[in-house]
């Protein structure tokens, strides 16, 4: 009997954990009633309803009705925003850096996604519905990124946003130079070791990609008879040159970012986003001229030398120059409070409220190439929505419900209701034979060796830890 209980509990755990039972099935049809809606595109609407059908927002207006089968959420007194999108995350990524080579464009974050990472659920509880999952910053050209929605409890395939353009991580500065940590005894230095080496590593890769592309063009034009050997390192770089893959480039110092922008000019492509770019404010006109977007920390600074000139007015200066700016977390902790990071942008320089909200919703959606389907509350867009108990820029606000495509993936009331069940489950597990001390008949109690997941990849770890 005990054994059966044990296996039942084990099964419960394996099937995704009790958190997934929070999920209330709406089949993508939901009516949100009487909310204050911050649309992130057409201002704030008082006491308005949103109807989501088959995952898409079909109507926004007053006194909307729906068939009785449709789940109704009473949002009287509550605020509704688009689901937050984090343009720099490593949530659910179980191996962040392939750092052995300086160019690892053949590697794919898609291959290392863990849909049961608790970070996903905690992000949902902060109103986050989507993210750009990036390779680390250990090398000049890193691996291919994945654009996901946090569909907690679903198979990993359903997380991927199918029509999102592919992306890739680039990186510059201290992490690439491997100078943020002392080399281990006997460890060989890896090229490049300087900023000038980093940009030449990138140039060399693009020269090779250009030749590779030409070789295929020659073959396809029947100028040569033998097909070139496929090169998985260079294929993504060819896609970049052809404008089919977005470059998301980690860096801090403005001169480095400028080097990269000039390199992109040389090879005739546009950089998708400058990531972190805490000194972007120093070169805002140069960035604006090229139409490159920037994804930054709201106000992190001083954690290493290259972040010592970071200022919280960065977003304001970029916004004033017409640059698309997003605020990202790069951290399983910080992703939970991006609403407050956006609020800070109103204080530092004076970004208007809707523009500040865009920095965590529509702007990152555009940066990820999914701005047509998500990032704002508009008819025709996905029903990716966060419902807050008060104005989301208030420090005392919290998320009550988070929906993706009209389906509920986080609900605070359900979460709280479930805690007693969880506690009972925990207690039952602790009483099992295997968890009892020797005198009581079990084996010796063990402290799990991998107790803590690596959850905070805030930059320095992003580059060095893995």
């Amino acid at each position: 009997m005990k054994k059966i209980t044990f296996y039942c509990i084990l099964l419960l755990l394996i099937t995704g954990g009790s958190h997934s039972t929070v999920q209330t099935q709406t089949a993508g049809d939901v009516l949100i009633k009487n909310a204050t809606i911050m649309t992130a595109i057409r201002g704030t609407l008082a006491e308005t309803d949103i109807l989501v059908q088959k995952g898409k927002i079909t109507r926004i207006g007053k006194n909307l009705t729906a068939p009785s089968s449709v789940r109704v959420i009473d949002a009287t007194g509550k605020y509704v925003t688009p689901g937050i999108i984090d343009a720099h995350s490593h949530a659910m990524v179980s191996a962040i850096n392939e750092g052995a080579f300086s160019v690892t464009s053949m590697t794919r974050i898609r291959d290392v996604l863990n849909p049961t990472d608790i970070s996903i659920y905690r992000a949902l509880a902060g109103g986050v519905t989507g993210a750009l999952l990036l390779h680390g910053s250990a090398n000049s050209i890193g691996g291919q990124s994945s654009t996901v929605k946090f569909k907690w409890g679903r198979p990993v395939e359903e997380f991927l946003v199918a029509d999102a353009p592919p992306g890739i991580k680039f990186a510059m500065g201290e992490n690439v130079r491997r100078t943020t940590q002392a080399p281990q005894p006997g460890q060989q230095l890896r090229y490049p070791r300087t900023r000038q080496g980093v940009i030449e590593t990138m140039r060399d890769a693009f020269v090779r990609a250009r030749d590779y592309r030409q070789a295929w063009a020659d073959f396809n034009a029947k100028k040569t008879k033998v097909a070139p050997r496929r090169d998985f390192e260079l294929e993504p770089l060819v896609e970049i040159i052809e404008g089919k893959r977005l470059v998301h480039a980690h860096g801090y110092r403005s001169d480095e970012h400028l080097n990269l922008l000039i390199l992109a000019d040389e090879f005739g492509f546009k950089i998708g986003t400058l990531q972190h770019a805490l000194e972007a404010y120093k070169i805002a006109p140069e960035i604006a001229k090229r139409g490159t977007a920037v994804s930054i920390f709201a106000d992190s600074w001083g954690f290493k030398l290259e972040s010592y000139d970071a200022i919280p007015y960065n977003a304001y200066i970029l916004w004033k120059n017409g640059v698309n700016v997003s605020i990202n977390s790069d951290s399983a902790e910080r992703i939970r409070r991006l609403n407050l990071d956006a609020a800070k942008m109103m204080k530092y320089g004076g970004v208007p409220e809707e523009e500040a909200l865009k920095m965590i919703t529509l702007n990152p959606a555009i940066q990820l190439g999914i701005g047509k389907r998500t990032g704002s509350i508009e008819v025709g867009k996905d029903g990716d929505i966060a419902i807050w108990n008060m104005h989301p820029f208030s420090v005392a606000s919290r998320v009550d419900t988070t929906l993706i495509e009209g389906e509920i993936f986080f609900d605070r009331a359900a979460d709280i209701q479930m805690r007693a069940t969880l506690a009972a489950e925990r207690e039952a597990l602790e009483k099992l034979d295997v968890n009892r001390p020797p005198a009581a008949g079990g084996g010796p109690p063990r402290i799990p060796t991998e107790r803590f997941e690596e959850v905070d990849h805030h930059d320095e770890i992003d580059g060095g830890g893995r």
């Binding site: 001083g302 030398l305 902790e333």
Partner: protein, 462 residues
């Protein structure tokens, strides 16, 4: 081939040399940065008689005054109330639409002890070598011209506790005002408390980050063995205290009777005197319930005055904390729940739970410096998860003042207290609120920092 290798190895050597030059340059240039900020920091505001009139005054200790005056004179709050007569020479500040708050206190930082923690070792003075450093004092290492100081204070934080980290007995923490050209000018209580990283069962993060390293013994996966090791370590810690006690007694005995053997002076042991005799507080870093209970027992056995820093599970040990009058400085609002199956808001809720249990507590960032300015949002987030707005504000003003033993001087707006005052255009816990004026020791502080200077330098670049 071998010559190639030789070249390579000599190149490697020159690279190393080159790096040491770079390292030296980095150190020198970061020093230069700090000096630039020194100019800023040395502009320590101006003294004067100031009257903030027609303002909303959140006194924290008493009722909020909807329309009143705060008079600042000789560095102190000379008067506060709805009907204060303003002396003729006073500089009047129009407080219409503004709110006056006491300056916030970040009660468990290491501000001033590290400028850039990652890969700029020359700027880091957080941790001494060795395990028993009772005689080392943060006030001797705090850099008064650190850029963190201005950046922090312009967000309404006027005072901080700054503590050393690492080892077992890390050293002595200081309470400082975030203004002054010298450590002496900044000091509120220069030698406030003795920091001890209390031995833990198993391993994990300590309140001050450094953790309880130093006792050695490595890790174990056997829980009973981990308990045994912790108990051994606590016994060793007790020995450090009793050795110091014996030393002090022997010194006193010799002072009275010179026929007794002379006991050579020992700075480490001398430094322990006020702490082991319960005259000053010992600051213990501890997180888990079992470790907090361990601290409480240690405080009880050794008859100490204790404070917990960290305190993730302090609310579970309310009985022993209250019994031994141990308050908690909670540093984990910006920390993820420890276990994957903990409630997502378990650490956001912890202050409300401490409040419900009747534990005395304060909220701190626990930061080394750059992010200490986020203190109001740490408190505000606790208010999103159960703590009242009033208590959230108190947790970064009056409560830390009480826990740090300086509530006679700061933490609220009351006549006679030091004029550490912030004037804002809204609730200071809100991220959208702007600070409009601030005073430390009655001096009006310029609202500038490294960040505002860089902003001014680049905001209009075309």
């Amino acid at each position: 081939m071998s010559s190639g290798f030789k070249v390579k190895s000599s190149m490697y050597y020159s690279v190393l040399q080159y790096f040491s030059i770079i390292a030296a340059v980095v150190v020198i240039s970061s020093g230069a940065f700090a000096q630039n900020d020194g100019t800023e920091q040395n502009a320590i505001g101006r003294a004067g008689t100031f009257a903030i009139v027609n303002a909303r005054i959140v006194t924290v200790s008493g009722a909020t005054i909807e329309n009143g005056t705060v008079l600042i004179q000789n560095g102190r709050i000379a008067a506060v109330g709805p009907n204060v007569s303003v002396p003729s020479g006073a500089e009047r500040i129009d407080g219409r639409g503004l709110t006056v708050f006491p300056g916030m206190i970040d009660s468990a930082t290491s501000i001033g002890l590290a400028e850039i923690t990652l890969a700029v070792a020359g700027s880091v003075d957080l941790q001494e070598t060795g395990t028993m450093n009772a005689h080392t004092k943060a006030i001797k290492g705090i850099h008064p011209h650190s850029a963190h100081i201005n950046v922090t204070r312009v967000n309404g934080i006027t005072t901080a506790m700054s503590a050393p980290r690492g080892g077992i007995i890390s050293g002595q923490a200081a309470i400082i005002n975030l203004n002054g050209a010298t450590p002496a000018e900044m000091a509120v209580v220069p030698e406030f408390g003795l920091v001890i990283n209390f031995p833990r069962i198993a391993v994990g993060g300590g309140g001050f980050g450094g953790g309880g390293g130093g006792f050695g013994g490595g890790q174990t996966t056997d829980f009973n063995e981990a308990v045994r090791r912790r108990d051994t370590q606590v016994e060793e810690l007790k020995k450090l205290f009793t050795n110091a006690e014996h030393y002090l007694r022997a010194r006193e005995a010799y002072a009275k009777d010179k026929t007794l053997p002379y006991v050579a002076e020992d700075l480490r042991h001398d430094a322990m005197a006020p702490y082991l005799r319960g005259e000053k507080v010992v600051i213990f870093t501890a997180e888990r319930e079992r470790d907090i209970r361990g601290v409480a027992k240690f405080v009880e056995d050794m008859k100490l005055k204790g404070i917990i820093v960290g305190g993730q599970e302090a609310w579970m040990a309310a009985d022993v904390l209250k019994k031994n009058n141990i308050p908690v400085i909670f540093t984990h609002i910006y920390t993820l729940p420890v276990r994957p199956d903990d409630a997502y808001d378990s650490l956001f809720e912890a202050p409300a739970k401490m409040q419900a249990e009747g534990i005395r507590f304060a909220i701190s960032t626990g930061d080394t410096g750059p992010e200490a300015r986020d203190l109001p949002y740490h408190a505000g987030l606790a208010a999103a998860f159960g703590l009242s707005r009033e208590d959230a504000l108190k947790s970064v003003t009056l409560y830390p003042a009480q826990i740090l033993g300086v509530a006679d001087r700061m933490g609220s707006i009351e006549t006679g207290k030091v004029a550490n005052i912030v004037v804002s255009d809204g609730d200071i816990l809100e991220p959208r609120t702007n600070i409009r004026y601030m005073f430390i020791n009655g001096r009006m502080i310029p609202l500038t920092s490294r960040h505002t200077r860089l902003f001014d330098a680049f905001k209009d670049r075309k």
